[in-house]
Amino acid sequence: MSVAAPYWPQKYRGERQACGPELTAELLEISDDIDDPVIKLQFLREAIDGQDAYERRVQRVPWAPIRRALFRLHGLRALAPALAQADFESQEIVHYRMLAARARVRRLMGGAVCAALLVMPLLTVAVAWRWNSDPPQPLTAATVTPAALRAAPPGLAAPLAVQPAAQSFPPPPPVAEFLPEELGQAPSEIFRADSGKDWEIYSNGLRVETGFVVRGKQRRYRIGDRQRGLSAEVYNQPVGILFHTSESDLWPLEANYEGRLRQSSTELIKYVQREQAYNYLIDRFGRVYRVVADETRASHAGNSVWAQGEDIYLDLNAAFIGISFESRWQGLKGEPEEGRALPITRAQLIAGRNLTNLLRQRFKIAPEMCVTHGLTSVAPRQFLIGYHRDWATGFPFAAFGLPDQYAQPPASVAVFGFEHDGNFLRAVGKLNPGLITAERMLTTEAQNRGITLDALRQERRALYQRWRDQLRGKRAAASEAPLQQVAVK
């Protein structure tokens, strides 16, 4: 007797998340053997519709072969009602396959239970040993004075005044990303507190995973000055930080997607390692991975320009450390080219801030040298800014204890006469104050010198081209220069 399917008005309309890769693989394998499109559709719908809870339950099983066997059995069970009208032979094949799948599940589960029984005594001993060697410390509640936070030196989280609490705190809300603003005591300086084979812990709570780290090419760069031209010295210490988005696939930050979130991050780390794309990657759970060693350069900046005072930096791979957040530059509603960065998670923000503080302290990096890729990236042939647009707008500089870089006139425009086009304008929504100031600076200078703005731009672009050619010519020479010629800035 067949049972009528429950009424589901959105069955063939409402957008839904596709099922997970393991269930998909099993369903595809079964589905490939079905010729009739109607039976195929019945089978797939029977196996997928309303089965989210079952899939979630199976995904909790820690051993992949058991999960796959359970999904296969689930698929075959779903096929049976679809074949109710089919010929006897087909039904019999499915019946035998189902029996085989059931037997396989039993075998695998039996094996897992036996293995668990064997391992359990060892686990118990290990847990008991840890319990005795590491007794839990009592916790005391404390409150924080906001004035102490405001008095903190820039660049580091504030050392906090701690007062005994009159009463205990209510339990924290059950959201992993929640953290009361500016709560807790921070160290006066950041130092490495502990380390292991694949990790380092710093005194500000930052944990850096070092299991993926590779060495890139030596940092070697020169600094430009509008009056004196390019420096003869070659420098090898990072002087800035460039923030990026990874432009990778993102999954919802929900419990159901933990597997996909992990898989996505792992694939991304491997990609970043292979391409030596950034020095650091911060995944959506706030884990910080050092991928390319600090002393060496990653290929993260491309054609780019930034300045600090009179010092002008071109092609920032060597001079800047690249930090990428697992996030994406997204299209805005209305226009294909428009964009904004998806918000980063609270965990990424905290980790990013701690990492920035560590790097700034270690390499004495000025706050105005911490900037986003989108503010520095240029297209040299077209003399346009914003070739890459990750965080061309919307980076939370204030939350990182950094000045608003969107208010700084970018050197690409003010010094080298680059322009923006309509695509860039659509992407950022409106021009940031720094860009407007840079344009005004150029206009004023053109007026003061009695030349047209175009003529001034041509002059500046020629300067950029000259420096770029020089750097390209000399870069090869610098990379062959003996180390004693390399000055440390």
Binding site: K11, L28, L44
Partner: protein, 350 residues
Amino acid sequence: MDDRHDFGNEAAGDVSASAYANAATRIGLDVGTSKVVTAQGDSRASQAAAQLNAFIGVTYTKLAEVTLQQNRVPHFRQGDELIVYGSAAERFAHMFNAECRRPMARGILNPQESAATYVLECILSMLVPQAPRKGETLAFSVPAGAGDMESELTYHEETLKHFLRSRGYTPIAVNEGLAVVLAELANESFTGIGISCGGGMCNVALAYLSIPSLTFSIAKGGDFIDSSVGQVVHEPATRIKAIKEDDLDLTRPSEDKVIKALQIYYDKLIQSLVDELYRTVTRSQKLPRTDKPLPIVLAGGTAKPHGFRDRFEEMLLRRQMPFEVGEIRLADDPLTATARGTLVAALAER
């Protein structure tokens, strides 16, 4: 509406309940802006029937009414007008060098036409007979919501359901893009992108194992091309439509100003479609993770001209999609693909 006299059901006479009485056959219905198409049959074979989703008003005279009745032209009287509907409306439009009116616009009931619901029901009556068994499943296509049209879409869908229930069916709504996937991508386990380019809009669905992971529509279609070209070459849209459906080749350069304009506006439509597809897939967090290339199927009357697929492929491949694009192909029969897909959905319901 009291003075309406409907002669459509008797006049059309191209379907009967007995044609659908076979227990193993069901009906899939594509309610498009330009055409209403049905597919009826079982999982092995199906037959399609279509009517133009249009109407035209002619001045009432007794003689005209008798002529229409004698020639079995579906019509009804509304006040001092005779409303001719269905495919016959186009013949009258050509005859009077006038534009057909549409009960639907942008994929849903046309709010500008007061008689829209009644005309659509008349056209549907020509194609959908009374259900052979009470509660028989019938699947019909609905567009994906585009921006601010959710409330109109609900009204459109409920109106159709109300009508189909009145004829004894249990209606289920199927997204138009998904219907293309169901019709054409069975060998790929209903995984891929279905695009239905209709008269009023283009509907897109990215399905994974038949589950619509992403759906959207753009409110541009064949009508947009017809009216835009009509405006620039000063010809009625109905004539442009006829030229378009005759022998348009998008790959061959032409000196003819109508063909030239058609090629320009086709390019504009395809570009809008590709842009929206790119924007939606790059923004979506529901995109399935798959290493396999996703096939794309193009369907609908607007996708029929020779070269449409090539132009689409050319523009799509200029974009860096977040998935690997597999084969891009035209549906076996672009005009009936959506209806055939809804038929698969109807047959799959137990």
